[in-house]
Symmetry: D2
Amino acid sequence: VTDALEELRARLAAFAMARNWGRFHDPKNLVMALSGEVGELTALFQWTTSDEARAIMTTEKRTDVEDELADVMIYLVRLADELGVDLIAAAQAKTDRNEQRFPTV
Amino acid sequence: VTDALEELRARLAAFAMARNWGRFHDPKNLVMALSGEVGELTALFQWTTSDEARAIMTTEKRTDVEDELADVMIYLVRLADELGVDLIAAAQAKTDRNEQRFPTV
Amino acid sequence: VTDALEELRARLAAFAMARNWGRFHDPKNLVMALSGEVGELTALFQWTTSDEARAIMTTEKRTDVEDELADVMIYLVRLADELGVDLIAAAQAKTDRNEQRFPTV
Amino acid sequence: VTDALEELRARLAAFAMARNWGRFHDPKNLVMALSGEVGELTALFQWTTSDEARAIMTTEKRTDVEDELADVMIYLVRLADELGVDLIAAAQAKTDRNEQRFPTV
């Protein structure tokens, strides 16, 4: 069984390599690309109320939201890969620490 | 076999629910939180050269980079979950389209 | 003599009022709009080398850079106005503190 | 009479030069610094409701908001200066175009 995120990581690395994008995909550039895509995602929510934002997937913006989430995910996976960071392990370790920081009663 | 990303998604949802954070974790707020964390990640790279950025995991910034990548991942997974978007499916579909858009020779 | 930034602030406030945009231009939304525009500005620089970035105003991207800088300025001025913050005074006060923090020899 | 924004621009340029920060303050790095500061500003608003955001200057976050607005302004002015862009002229020209795009009745 191949893990879904590992499969995506490998596909995106191969995709960049096949196009000779290694010279573009250095960490500094990938951080900027990630940041640019988060900016586009943010723009989809900027004039909505909180209630409208909750219902955004029932509107014609649905496809744009999926598209921008995909772009953010793609650059986050590529960046972590270039840096040699395991996103799942890092997020799980951070959540372990958050459980100490924010205990439930 | 549980998928690693699905396991993280479920843990983060349970984590927020156990702390009654539902009123904070609406999509508009989560987009802002994601954007804030990407800002902190960006700050780690802003004065580095491209070469220094490539070597950042061999420096004392290593832990900060892992930590910020974790925070970005956590808010991205929470946001997608609140919106009902499957990040892997969205990223794979986008990569299918990118293969059409950027053909190899 | 009218100060140029004060003149811009007043024009942008009148522009929003004439279009009844008050309900959109609350601080939370304006922060997101500012962030979205910075994302678009970032995207113009993401794949350039540092040298290419320095020469960007001699390329066909010149107009886009001016346009995005204008958008960032517009939302920053609108946001500060809604919050009642004097941008010049705030930046001068911060620079006073930076002079203490980073003394020259 | 010296214009307030021109005075700030000149002070910030002299400040960077006196500290030999020219090698750091290239456009690519300054865009990242601007983006990082907008991220910190965003973080101040991420969990607030729209009403709380409107009243933020009456809370203990007041100083942080002024501080982050100052940092955003400082990097925006530095970036525009390095690129040779007049922020006021660019914002006024963009607003001229916006008046065509969004006519009042």
